[in-house]
Amino acid sequence: MHHQGISLDVLLDIYTCVLRIRRFEEEVSRLFRQGQLPGFVHLYIGEEAVAAGVCATLTDEDTIISTHRGHGHVIAKGGDIKRMMAELFGKASGYNKGKGGSMHIADFDIGMLGAIGIVGGGIPIAVGAGLSAWYQDSERVSVCFFGDGAANEGSFHESLNLASALNLPVVFVCENNQYGEFTPAARAMNICDIADRAAGYGIPGLVADGADALEMYRVARTAAQRARDGDGPTLIEAKTHRRGSHAEGEEAFLAGQTYRSEEELAAAWAKDPLLLLHTYIGEQNLLPAEQLETLDADITQSVREAVDAARNSPDPKVESVFEDLWV
């Protein structure tokens, strides 16, 4: 890990982002276990450095598309954890007025074009956002997050090829956390690096350490710049690990079965993106320890406030089912 070419401001932003995602997701996990959240939640713990590093290279004009595991992307793009938390509770004050839930959070005002619950379903839409940028002669970049599992969907293939054929400003970020649900990537494909698929579309394919937020930042910056320069799309594969369940409460699905070993999990924790960054900042004396502690306390507090606000928000009115249908 190193921060060459990265300003202290940016570093602090990235660190803040990683931490905010972590604290948010930890709270969501608790809430889910307490039976307070409806539906399914898929947490981003262990993968925070990917969204944090990538989104730190983007402006508010740039857009992202997310997945079922989307809370981290929303936060990294600058989303409001209050409105997100309220949405997880299904409340009227949520981002989607309770109509979306965990798998469908969007904030169009900050270029977060939505999470998509269909695996791979967001990739073509990101190509379209890139097409817009190209059409409008804008410097906007369209970033698409998706998993290793999604890389086996037809939408992945068609989308990367389409973006390449039209030379669009899209950055495809594959979060290879080694599993699609309970199926290891190694069983779902006979290649080590998904980035190798980029060659099949004539675009660059880069592997990055998804535990290293600073590396993610540098790689994404290169890809985003390439896109802005009119040189077309890039595929970035972030090697990462999800620390918890596929979906919270996966124990119920597993019913005593296991799909990854304790050693594997321990090895993954050893590369905890939050810890790595925290340690690096400490070792390099980049920011005072007290500042980091205050930051953590503030974030933890804001998450708590988000929960309180969400809990105290009203349910959507039944009549609102008929709203938001037609323009």
Binding site: G121, P124, L131, S132, Y135, N161, L325
Partner: protein, 322 residues
């Protein structure tokens, strides 16, 4: 009034709207050359940027349309044949057809999907299915199936100006059909039916090619003194329920004629609605005339046998009079 073909009228709608609004563009497989004349000549006028050829990738192309629509453009996505929509079904049903609602009204999806619908060219099952019934089921998509050049042009222009996703289906079997197309600018509102023939004895509801089947049947019946009212729905979702109910209130008899497989078809919807909402006017059972319930065969003889015919409609009308 100038007379134009159905496909020429579609092309005219596209070119006029592209001239009017620089955000409107066309994307799809071979739209430059124009596999159907509906897109021909547009590339010459509007160039590579606004008439975009794509790889054969229906899912991604449909999704790209959606992404462009939510970021400020007004795409027309040409998916060529109705059956190719099956490959883009997820993007249409799960994404375009729900996004605005799912995101709590944060966005709009001003997008037209365009495809040829139905059979009639002996191309076999993979190129000969009507697909409108699937998309009528989706709560947040409008569906159009015009029967005349004039309606096609006016409705496509409305579709392009609509801020919601619209599936504009055009019938391959009507491509060469000629009809009046006003020279001056005009729009036909989505959701408004057109009574193509007035009559007091029976209401026949149709769309696209079955309008002609119904009109042929009506002509034959008129020779016997039976006057059928033929309603061309033009828009399938939303559809002009009131026009149909009003007509049934007058005639007391109802026949739905729909080119599609019978079960859960548009004909089922129309018949069920009439039976629910005009029941007390009905003097005879509602009738449905659709494809026979088999995949679409290739041989012209068999294809003809599977499609709804004027004879089928006449027989259905007779059943309402029995």
């Amino acid at each position: 009034m100038p007379r134009k073909t159905y496909v020429a009228a579609i092309q005219e709608a596209l070119s006029e709207e592209m001239r009017r609004d620089p955000r409107v563009f066309l994307i799809g497989e071979d739209v430059r050359i124009g596999v159907f004349p509906s897109t021909r000549g547009l590339h010459a006028e509007f160039g590579d940027k606004r008439v975009i050829d794509t790889p054969i990738s229906e899912l991604a192309v449909a999704g790209a349309g959606i992404g462009a629509a939510v970021t400020g453009l007004r795409p027309v996505v040409d998916l060529m044949f109705g059956t190719f929509l099956y490959l883009a079904f997820d993007q249409i049903a799960n994404q375009a057809g729900a996004m605005r609602y799912m995101y709590g009204g944060q966005t709009k999806v001003p997008l037209v999907f365009m495809a040829q619908n139905g059979a009639g060219s002996s191309a076999g099952h993979h190129h000969s299915q009507a697909v409108h019934q699937f998309f009528m089921n989706m709560p947040q998509i409008k569906v159009i199936l015009p029967s005349t050049p004039g309606d096609g042009k006016g409705l496509l222009k409305s579709a392009i100006r609509d801020d919601n996703p619209v599936l504009f289906l055009h019938s391959l079997s009507l491509g060469g059909k000629r009809g009046d197309v006003p020279a001056e600018e005009y729009l036909i509102p989505i959701g408004l039916a057109d009574v193509k023939r007035a009559g007091g004895d029976v209401t026949i509801c149709a769309a696209g090619p079955t309008v002609y089947t119904a009109l042929d049947a009506a002509d034959a019946l008129a020779a016997e003194g039976i006057e059928a009212e033929v309603i061309d729905l033009r828009s399938l979702s939303p559809w002009d329920k009131q026009a149909v109910l009003d007509s049934v209130a007058k005639t007391g008899r109802f026949v739905a004629v729909d080119e599609s497989f019978p079960t859960c078809s548009a004909a089922s919807e129309w018949a069920a609605t009439v039976a629910a909402e005009a029941f007390h006017h009905l003097r005879a059972p509602v009738q449905r005339v659709t494809n026979k319930d088999v995949p679409m065969p290739f041989s012209p003889t068999l294809e003809k046998a599977v499609l709804p015919s004027a004879e089928d409609v006449i027989a259905a009308v007779r059943r309402t009079l029995a």
